[in-house]
Symmetry: C2
Subunit: 358 residues, 2 copies
Amino acid sequence: TKRYSITLLPGDGIGPEVISVAKNVLKLAGSLEEIEFSFQEMPMGGAALDLTGVPLPEETLSTAQRADAVLLGAIGGYKWDKNEKHLKPETGLLQLREGLKVFANLRPATVLPQLVDSSTLKKDVAEGVDLMVVRELTGGIYFGKPRGFGTNEKGEDIGFNTEVYSTHEIDRIARVAFEIARKRRGQLCSVDKANVLEASMLWRKRVTAIASEYPDVELSHMYVDNAAMQLVRYPKQFDTIVTNNIFGDILSDEASMITGSIGMLPSASLGESGPGLFEPIHGSAPDIAGQDKANPLATILSAAMLLKYGLGEANAANRIENAVLDTLNRGFRTGDIYSTGNKLVGCKEMGEEVLKSV
Amino acid sequence: TKRYSITLLPGDGIGPEVISVAKNVLKLAGSLEEIEFSFQEMPMGGAALDLTGVPLPEETLSTAQRADAVLLGAIGGYKWDKNEKHLKPETGLLQLREGLKVFANLRPATVLPQLVDSSTLKKDVAEGVDLMVVRELTGGIYFGKPRGFGTNEKGEDIGFNTEVYSTHEIDRIARVAFEIARKRRGQLCSVDKANVLEASMLWRKRVTAIASEYPDVELSHMYVDNAAMQLVRYPKQFDTIVTNNIFGDILSDEASMITGSIGMLPSASLGESGPGLFEPIHGSAPDIAGQDKANPLATILSAAMLLKYGLGEANAANRIENAVLDTLNRGFRTGDIYSTGNKLVGCKEMGEEVLKSV
Ligand SMILES: CC(C)[C@H](C(=O)O)[C@@H](O)C(=O)O
Ligand SMILES: CC(C)[C@H](C(=O)O)[C@@H](O)C(=O)O
């Protein structure tokens, strides 16, 4: 029997509901593969603010750092929206990413045949979309210094940030992306703004250099404005996309919405060593929190990514992925993905149905 | 008779073809409103590089600066793609924007009933979309200093740029956007990343402050990642969007592609005083250059924006806009917007048909 310790960060809004369901799925899939989990549940985000006054308590971070993997629900809510920056739930998330050094954010966007109608795109454009955005997560304008407020030479107030990338940062995210592309359809599209930004020029140069280590992967480059268009025009052209932190923030969300079912989409954030961070891409949805209406499938699929990318337990991961597909095939749908002819269920019941299929 | 001087910058690829057509339309619409134009045609982009060695010759800029308005075709092409940054056609465009001080870029994205099928979005999602992106064009990360290459404390090479906005820059673009929203449906959505970036926090603060001057306009705020999603999910929710240079680059292109007919979309770039710059949003399309296949309507509609926003000649502008709609209603289509049942025409013939309708 293999043993792993998992830190659970339920967070805010629908976070606790979806985490509780995903935990059960993780347990069952593990037990069928002779894997045993120990879980530590820790406060994070708004929940932590209310409890301890900070969005990422020391103890939450250190527990997460010692774990084999971290599963996060969702954070944020109206209640903390007006907080100062260092007291925002989102700041806790940025601190967690930094603290776990998870520089590679993997954001799959897949249109499942069962849910192709959820997309706002025409069926022939949406069907078969299966792409992965690899977003750099601990660098660029999110963390670059100097940053802050000041005055310019004319005495006007200014706000400023620094977009900065080093060869080391680019090389390591490029390698992650090439490795992933290699295991997918062998196509990597690097997205930048190298016609304007020096940070992007270095990005393009280094990604091109790293490509020589991966002769089996076909590399292309695209400007970010064009990428935003191409995702709408013909999303099937993409296999794997690699891009910086801010462009990745925008494009991975756009790609998610192309699928039309953001309640289905998981994510993984990986470092060089140490635990990965796994979370659904949806938010905390305060409007439906506590009503047993949330779609737990994104978190369940995040648990599958945890098994696959975080622990190398592909068999258990496949069990979960197949169970989700099977549950959809059996017609179960939460409200966000419901269409007539299917069976409308709540968060818990969806979890029970997935358990039956594991 | 009113007299205006217009600098024409045909540029590269299909630029000369579409400019030549738009010039005729401008002339005719003007003459019917007792407006006379004098045109100066100047080299710009790749054409200028070949001729003079730089993408924006001094004389082109000074002629443009003295004009009442500037109409640009398109710039760029494979031939100059590998040029060093200061010798790229795009650099000429950035220099032109800076030299004309056109800080406000207006990018309408409208789904015409005649062309709703061109969109990759489902009909009920696409139809009725009518939004305007107001993009800040001469500030932010495009022009911010310091920028360049260097090494960090670990001795690694870095590339860096500065995202910076001053109160003055934000206030003036906000006012342009509020004025436009006021003349449209009275809704302004300011897009930023104020949960992460200081430059965005100042942006949000100032846009909120300026809102008090426009009590008749309803202001909302949205994070850029969410905006990228909402444009796909439900684009009709937007009336006017205001955002910074780089987010505007991405979102205005995404919005254009939502319409599915980027060969139809014009743009205007305005300063505080001095001539505005008007150009179609499409590129130079080197693959179809010189084949009389280009869609001139985006440039013709840019000429309409020139009349309306650049010269305050609303009547002449309306003539052109109505002529374009009429020509579409009569079934004329270039290849990019062609669908069965319509009449396929080339660039020149489309121009002739529009002239008949002016
Ligand atoms: C909440 C916010 C700071 C975060 C980000 O911008 O990274 C979110 O949008 C995400 O993509 O996970
Ligand atoms: C060509 C490029 C420099 C330019 C920009 O990024 O502004 C273009 O994408 C645009 O939007 O006009």
